[in-house]
Amino acid sequence: MTATPFPTGKVLRLPGSSLDQLVQAALRAAGDGAVLYAPVKSGETWTWDVVAPEAAPQAEWWTRTVNTDLSPKNAMMPQTEDIATWRNRFRDLEIIEPPPPPPAVVLGLRPCDAASFDILDDILYDGEFMDETYRTRRMRTLLLTWACARTGPACGCDAFDLTPAATAGDVMIYPDGDDLLVAAVTDRGGPVLDHLAQGGGARDATVDEMQQVAGALAAQTTEIGRRVKLDDLPIDKPGEGPPQAFGSAIWDDLAPRCLSCGTCTYVCPTCYCFAVNDEPRGSDGRRVRTWDSCQYKDFFTMAGGHNPRPSKVERVRQRFMHKLTYHPERYNRWLCVGCGRCVVACPVGLHIAEVGAVLAEAMRQLGPAKEGDLDGSGR
C-alpha cells in the first residue's frame, strides 16, 4: 500500500506558544457551533473529549507525551450513541431520528490515529450502506494531525505501512523545534490556513522546508517495526480455499492467556464493531448503539444459543485474522495502524505485535504463497 505523499500546498510556520490561534482558525473553518475534541485526562487515563478551547493542552504536551491512552475513535464513533428514540402508543408508533451532531475539530491526533479514520471510511463511509451517524460526524469534523517528534516503545506504525509523519487528516502539523509547520492536506484544510494566516501569528514557510522536516520525522523507526515483518503474510485471494493462517497451530498457544475482556478492542482506533440494543422505558425508549467486542463470550451467540466461536481460541483467531487477513482481502489494507495501545493495555500481553510476528513466522515456515498469489507479496 503506497503511503500518501507529503502535502504540497500552502505552509505556515507558527510558534508553538500561539497554538490557540490554530485552534480558533480551525473552529472557524469547521463552521458555527463547532466543538473541540482534544486530549483530556479522565481519571488516570488520557482520552479525547469535548473541551473548551482554552482548556486544550499546550503545545509542549505533544512534545512530552507519545500518545493518549484511548484513541480519538470516540470523537467519530462515541462509545454510546442513540440511533433513534421511539414513542409507542399501541397503534401509533413514532420513530424519531436524533439531531445531527455539531461540527467538530479534533486537535492533535497522531498520524496513526488520523490514518485509522481513513481505514474506517472504507467500511463505514464508502460501503454500499453508509453508517450515517459515522458519516455525518466524519463530514463535519476537521482533523488536525500532529506528527510525532519521537516514537514510544510500544509504537509500531512502520510495521503497518505508516510512518510517524504519515500524511492523514485535513491539516498536518509538523513540530520543528519550538515552531509548528502547518500544512493543508485536503481542500477542507485550506480554509484553516487562510483563517490562520489572517490571525497574524503565523508566517509563510516553504514546501521544501516542511517536506524536509516531515521527511526527518518520517524516517524514525520503531522496535516493533523492526521485529514485525508482515510482508511474508500471504493474503490469500478469496476463492483459493480457507486462508492458511486460519488453520495454523499458533492460535492454540496464544489464546489461553486471553481474559476475553474488551480492552484491546476498546482502546483500538480501528476496531469498529458495535452492538445495537433497545433501552425501553415504559412504552417509549431509545435504540442505542454501543461499542462491542468480538472477544466477549456472547458477541457471536445466536438466538437459540448456537455460538460459532464458543471458546477463546476461535475468538482470538477471529480478531487477529480480521486485522491481518480478512480486512486486507477486502480493502487491500491492514486493519491496524500500529498505534501500540493494545501492546500497553492488554493485561496479559496478547497484542497485534506478538501475534503479527508469530503469524508471519508461521506462514514463512509454510513456504511461499501458493502460485495463485500473483506477485507473491500477497497484496
Binding site: 479522565s42 479525547w48 473529549d49 469535548v50 470516540n74 462515541p78 462509545q79 454510546t80
Partner: protein, 154 residues
C-alpha cells in the same frame, strides 16, 4: 471512557417549592406490608410520598434494587422487614441484616446521602411505627431535595 451526552443527571439542582419526594419502600409481605395496611385501616395520616413494593421477605431484596430505584428517579428508598426472630421464613431477615449493614455503608461510601436510604424492622402490629417512619423519612428526604446522583436523565 464514556463521552456521554447525558452527563448531567435529570433533576434540577434547586428544590422547587412544594416539591414532594418520591420514596420507594420494599416491604416484606408478612410484617411491614401488614404494618402499612394496619396504618391505613387505623386511619393514621402519613404523607402520600411512598410507593410500596411488596416482597416475600426482606431477605429477598438485593442491594442493587436500591440503586435501580435511585436510577429510575426515587429520592428515598426504604427497606422494611420483620423484627429479627419474627421472620416467616425464620432466617430471611438475619441474612438481610448482615447484607444491609454492609450495603448502607457502601451506598453511603459511593456518595448517596445516608438519609436517603433507610432500613427499618416494622412488624405487622406496628402500624403507628410505619406511619412514623414515613413522616420522618419524608421530612428528611424533603430537606435534602431531589436526588440527582445515579439518576437517569429524563
Amino acid at each position: 471512557m464514556a463521552v456521554t451526552e447525558h452527563k448531567t443527571e435529570g433533576a434540577p439542582a434547586v428544590t422547587p417549592a412544594g416539591w414532594q419526594p418520591k420514596i420507594v419502600a420494599f416491604c416484606c409481605n408478612w410484617c411491614s406490608y401488614a404494618g402499612a395496611d394496619l396504618a391505613g385501616t387505623s386511619r393514621l395520616a402519613y404523607p402520600p410520598t411512598v410507593r410500596i413494593i411488596r416482597v416475600p421477605c426482606s431477605g429477598r431484596i438485593s442491594p442493587r434494587f436500591v440503586i435501580r430505584a435511585f436510577q429510575r428517579g426515587a429520592d428515598g428508598v426504604l427497606v422494611a422487614g420483620c423484627h429479627p426472630g419474627d421472620c416467616h421464613y425464620s432466617t430471611g431477615n438475619y441474612y438481610a441484616r448482615r447484607r444491609f449493614l454492609l450495603a448502607r455503608r457502601f451506598i453511603e461510601y459511593l456518595g448517596i446521602e445516608p438519609e436517603r436510604f433507610w432500613v427499618k424492622w416494622i412488624s405487622g402490629s406496628e402500624g403507628s411505627k410505619f406511619a412514623q417512619v414515613m413522616r420522618e423519612m419524608t421530612e428528611a428526604v424533603t430537606a435534602l431535595g431531589p436526588n440527582r446522583k445515579v439518576r437517569e436523565a429524563e
